[in-house]
Amino acid sequence: MTGSMRIGVVTFPGSLDDRDAARAVAIAGGEPVTLWHGQDDLHGVQAVVLPGGFSYGDYLRCGAISRFAPIMRSVVDHARHGLPVLGICNGFQILCESHLLPGALTRNASRHFVCRDQRLLIEDTTAAWTCAYQPGQQITVPLKNGEGCYVADDRTLDELEGSGRVIARYLQVNPNGSRRDIAGIRNERGNVVGLMPHPEHAVESLTGPGTDGLGFFTSVLQSLMDEARR
């Protein structure tokens, strides 16, 4: 059934984890569709992943140039009408720059790039990308970033927490100094999720710390099916 679900993965110049995101979609049972930054055509996909990497070299500010890519016009437009969008790492940065999500990602507190297997607490399971998890579930997925420190003003943070929009928090170690240990957030509607760690690298036990990341991809397939039934 889920084989018919077409999930787009955008390639920007400098995207690195696009093939990995596509592999994760396929392992979860969806059909990955390659989307090109320079076209605004979403090719009828039912959800979009903005993958990790260093789009445009991240030379200006992470995600600051990508938000102006033609494909982002369509992504932003459709996201406002409910298209599920997951931004991972650089994708999260692009979502913030696009104002689909509040806050910003800044340089790690350690000032070093960090790559580690990260323990996370899943807090919100109402989003399109988290519904396959249990609230309070603990998972381990790789984290790798140089600018992953999530910041927002206190009012925004209070609002995110008050409305259950923090989807995941760092456990044990806060690897980048993110405020209130925030690893991922969603928009009000729950269709747009930004996540600093990389669930697409935890979909095969052979190549990752486990398969805990698969849930993000099965979640969206599940929520699309639920929607189709409605």
């Binding site: 110049p13 400098g14 690195l16 984890d17 093939r19 990995d20 592999r23 320079g38 990790g52 990497g53 260093f54 445009y56 070299g57 991240d58 030379y59 507190a109 350690s110 000032r111 070093h112 790039f113 960090v114 790559c115 580690r116 607490l121 790789p142 790798k144 140089g146 928090r169 760092y170 456990l171 044990q172 170690v173 806060n174 690897p175 100094g177 209130r180 240990d181 990389h198 697409e200 690298h201 095969e204 052979l206 190549t207 990752g208």
Partner: protein
């Protein structure tokens, strides 16, 4: 440069006609690093004085770095003693060697140094080192799939190490992470001899289908020479002949500003554009631009192809329009490639480049003139036989002689050093070594590298070797390791080089991959010193003999000379990379023994061998005697048993033993697994020797209990000694040695982890989460 050099501001251009007209003009050949006889040879080849552009080309291409003029006569042994290998598809001489790994897959790999630039400017030096080796791999037609690196620094607590190391690590990470290349292994070591000459050796692995292998040759008269990638700027001009070929001497001329600056984003685009044009079949020949830039690429392409090429140098897109033609020819601006393209394919080629925002320009044409000619705004500034530039550089028979002090060094054996005897002394020796710079956890370094990108990393640090999946369908993959103990090579260059080969071979075998091919990065002092040249000659001979015995060919590598400050050279450091193949990566063996209720065995024999050991170095500051014996025939049997056992799924875990001996390997397995072990010293053996000797050809294994007998039979059939040394203790987080001492895993982990951060952390580091 010569005072009559041409420049874009209208200065006189030194043309071929002018060179004929003014044959006696004085030329600054010596400043460009050419010896009087080399300059005369250029005049003989051309039948006139060279133009300043020609002089620039010859000077960079005949530098030690590009021409291997001091090492060539020795490196020939890698070809002469090359063992018969059905896997070898492209051998030494191309940008990188290629081996067949089965199922129509080919793998290319090579290691290269970027030592001097990394000392001058650690971040950019190391970053562009990664960039350069990645382009070597791309130019064979392969997609880069992994990098590993071998790093050497001065003492960890030396102030300059705190300047150099963080910059090098950030540079490797900053460049490699941005390219999307997993960094899957490598090694970091510290020794006072590297204080003024750190070593940064980067190895890259690439994979391709057999039919996608490409070469650096300009074939087909009328085909176009396309330069694509970054624009050419003033960076790295003369970097090859000046930086890589002269050691740092006090009071000498200051020639250090020419380190290149890397742009990994451009390199990532270059990778994608290159793979696209290769896959579309639009490329007849391809060459990367590294050392010696356009000079090197055009002369090598022409020399390997139809033999002739014409270049319109003024068409080269410039970052700095004031560059003189000589500077354009010598520039080492990064992220550039050169392709030979049929005219009919040019529009498609340009389309692919445009899609990836990569600038591409036709700068020349292949012909059969037998000459490489270069024009600058209609003026002929170069007219040379390309082979004379690219391949017919000078070859030196440098004198070499075993230095008189070598005997004294070898006579100063480690046997006289006081040894720990009691359990308490052994325990504190173990903790002391576990926390020593050369044996402590390198997580501070490796956690700055992305090991996950591409989603095919099966093993990475702290595993014994790196492993990546090549074919997602079949699970076919490759493992790679680099190793060298420069202290062993200092005591005995021949044996030390073989020990480096043996260690790398063993590390690959331990994971279950069958060793297939070798690459090496030979880091030495000045070849003009007969003692250093002797070290080099011996190390090459040792490696060539070793590869013949093990049956794995050397497919390529790199020589880095002049690693010395004044008269003090680095330890001879022949870093050896071994690549192995595994049919199904699901069968790989990790060093994690889990929480199995299983027995631990030592394969191989332990001798009393402490010359060059970490114990002698760290505890006594001693370097003397002979390194451990190296019997490659035993090493081969050990390797075959390990590979065979892995493919039959007989092992839970395995680890090689090298620096720090058996004890260090057990610590790494226990701490890595989070599970302790209870061990015994076999009766009749000296506990100190048993725990800390660095005898070669040994490994620790944990066989699956259900098939343990099968495994032991396999060892017996191979004539491999096995000793039961203990058992995994699932319920006790303690490493114990009966009757001697025990130490908790928490303490071991803490000691292992603390060393590098204590010295290198310049900021708060990681914070604790609130939960």
């Amino acid at each position: 440069m010569s005072p009559d050099r041409g420049a874009a501001d209208g200065a006189v251009t030194d043309t071929v006609a002018r060179a004929e007209r003014e044959p006696d003009a004085l030329q600054p050949y010596a400043e460009l690093g050419l010896k009087p006889d080399e300059y005369q040879r250029i005049r003989d080849i051309l039948g006139r004085r060279p133009t300043s552009a020609e002089l620039a080309m010859y000077s960079v291409m005949w530098s030690e770095h590009c021409s291997y003029k001091s090492s060539k006569v020795h490196l020939r042994q890698f070809g002469e003693k090359c063992p018969p290998s059905p896997a070898l598809m492209v051998g030494i001489g191309e940008n990188a060697g290629v081996v067949d790994i089965g199922d129509g897959w080919a793998v290319t790999f090579k290691i290269e140094s970027h030592n001097h630039p990394s000392y001058v400017e650690p971040y950019q030096g190391a970053a562009t080192g990664v960039g350069g080796i990645v382009r070597d791999i791309m130019s064979m037609g392969a997609r880069p799939i992994a990098v590993v690196d071998a790093l050497r620094f001065g003492p960890l607590d030396a102030p300059d190490t705190r300047r150099v190391l963080p910059g090098v690590v950030a540079g490797i990470g900053g460049y490699g992470n941005c390219l999307g290349l997993p960094n899957i292994g490598g090694e970091v070591a510290f020794d006072p001899s590297y204080l003024g000459n750190p070593l940064v050796n980067a190895l890259c692995v690439g994979s391709m289908r057999h039919q996608d292998i490409h070469r650096a040759s300009a074939s087909g008269v009328g085909n176009l020479v396309v330069l694509y990638g970054a624009r050419t700027g003033g960076d790295g001009i003369g970097g090859v002949s000046v930086l890589a070929s002269e050691s740092f001497t006090e009071g000498g001329p200051v020639k250090r500003p020419s380190v290149q600056v890397g742009d990994p984003f451009m390199e990532k685009l270059l990778i994608e554009a290159t793979l696209a044009v290769l896959q579309a079949g639009l490329v007849e020949g391809i060459q990367d631009l590294g050392g010696a830039g356009i000079s090197c690429a055009t002369s090598e392409l022409a020399s390997n192809g139809e033999g002739g090429m014409h270049v319109w140098l003024d068409r080269v897109p410039l970052r700095d329009p004031s560059l003189a033609p000589e500077e354009i020819l010598m520039s080492e601006s990064q992220e550039r490639m050169c392709a030979i393209v049929r005219p009919a394919n040019l529009p498609a080629f340009l389309d692919h480049c445009a899609r990836w925002d990569v600038e591409a320009t036709v700068i020349g044409e292949v012909n059969d003139s037998g000459r490489l000619t270069v024009d600058w705004h209609g003026m002929r500034i170069v007219d040379v036989p390309p082979r004379s530039v690219a391949h017919d550089g000078p070859v030196y028979q440098r004198p070499y002689q075993r230095p008189p002090w070598q005997d004294d060094l070898q006579a100063d054996v480690a046997d006289r050093l006081p040894r720990p005897a009691t359990g308490e002394q052994l325990r504190s020796t173990l903790l002391d070594l576990v926390g020593s710079a050369n044996l402590a956890s390198t997580e501070w370094v490796t956690n700055q590298y992305d090991r996950y990108v591409q989603g095919n990393t099966v093993l990475a640090r702290p595993q014994v070797a790196g492993m990546v999946r090549v074919d997602e369908g079949t699970g076919r993959g490759v493992a790679v390791s680099v190793a060298c103990n420069g202290r062993f090579a200092g005591l005995d260059p021949y044996g030390g080089a073989q020990l480096a080969l043996a260690e790398s071979y063993r590390k690959v075998s331990v994971t279950g991959a069958a060793p297939l091919a070798v690459t090496n990065c030979l880091n030495f002092g000045s070849p003009e010193d007969p003692a250093i040249m002797w070290q080099f000659a011996e190390a090459v001979r040792g490696l060539a003999d070793g590869c013949l015995t093990l049956g794995i060919p050397v497919t390529g590598g790199n020589v880095s000379f002049y690693n010395q400050t004044s008269t003090t050279a680095i330890l001879p450091t022949p870093v050896v990379g071994v690549l192995g193949v595994i049919e199904d990566v699901h069968r790989r063996v990790t060093c994690d023994w889990g929480d199995a209720d299983a027995l631990i065995y030592l394969l191989g024999t332990t001798h009393d061998e402490f010359g060059g050991s970490q114990w002698a170095h760290h505890v006594h500051g001693h370097l003397g005697g002979l390194p451990p014996r190296c019997d490659l025939e035993v090493e081969q049997r050990l390797g075959r048993v390990l590979v065979c056992a892995a493919s039959a799924d007989l092992l839970i875990a395995a680890h090689d033993t090298c620096g720090g001996g058996l004890a260090q390997a057990l610590v790494q397995m226990a701490v890595g697994s989070g599970t302790g072990a209870r061990c015994q010293v076999p009766p009749g053996l000296d506990p100190f020797v048993y725990l800390f000797s660095e005898s070669a050809s040994r490994a620790i294994v944990v066989p699956r209990p259900s098939t343990e007998a099968v495994f032991l039979d396999l060892c017996q059939a191979a004539g491999l000694p096995t000793t039961r040394i203990g058992e995994v203790s699932p319920n006790a987080p303690v490493l114990s040695f009966d009757g001697l001492f025990e130490v908790g895993l928490d303490e071991l982990a803490q000691v292992r982890q603390a060393t590098l951060p204590a010295i290198l952390d310049d900021s708060p580091g990681q914070q604790w989460a609130s939960r």
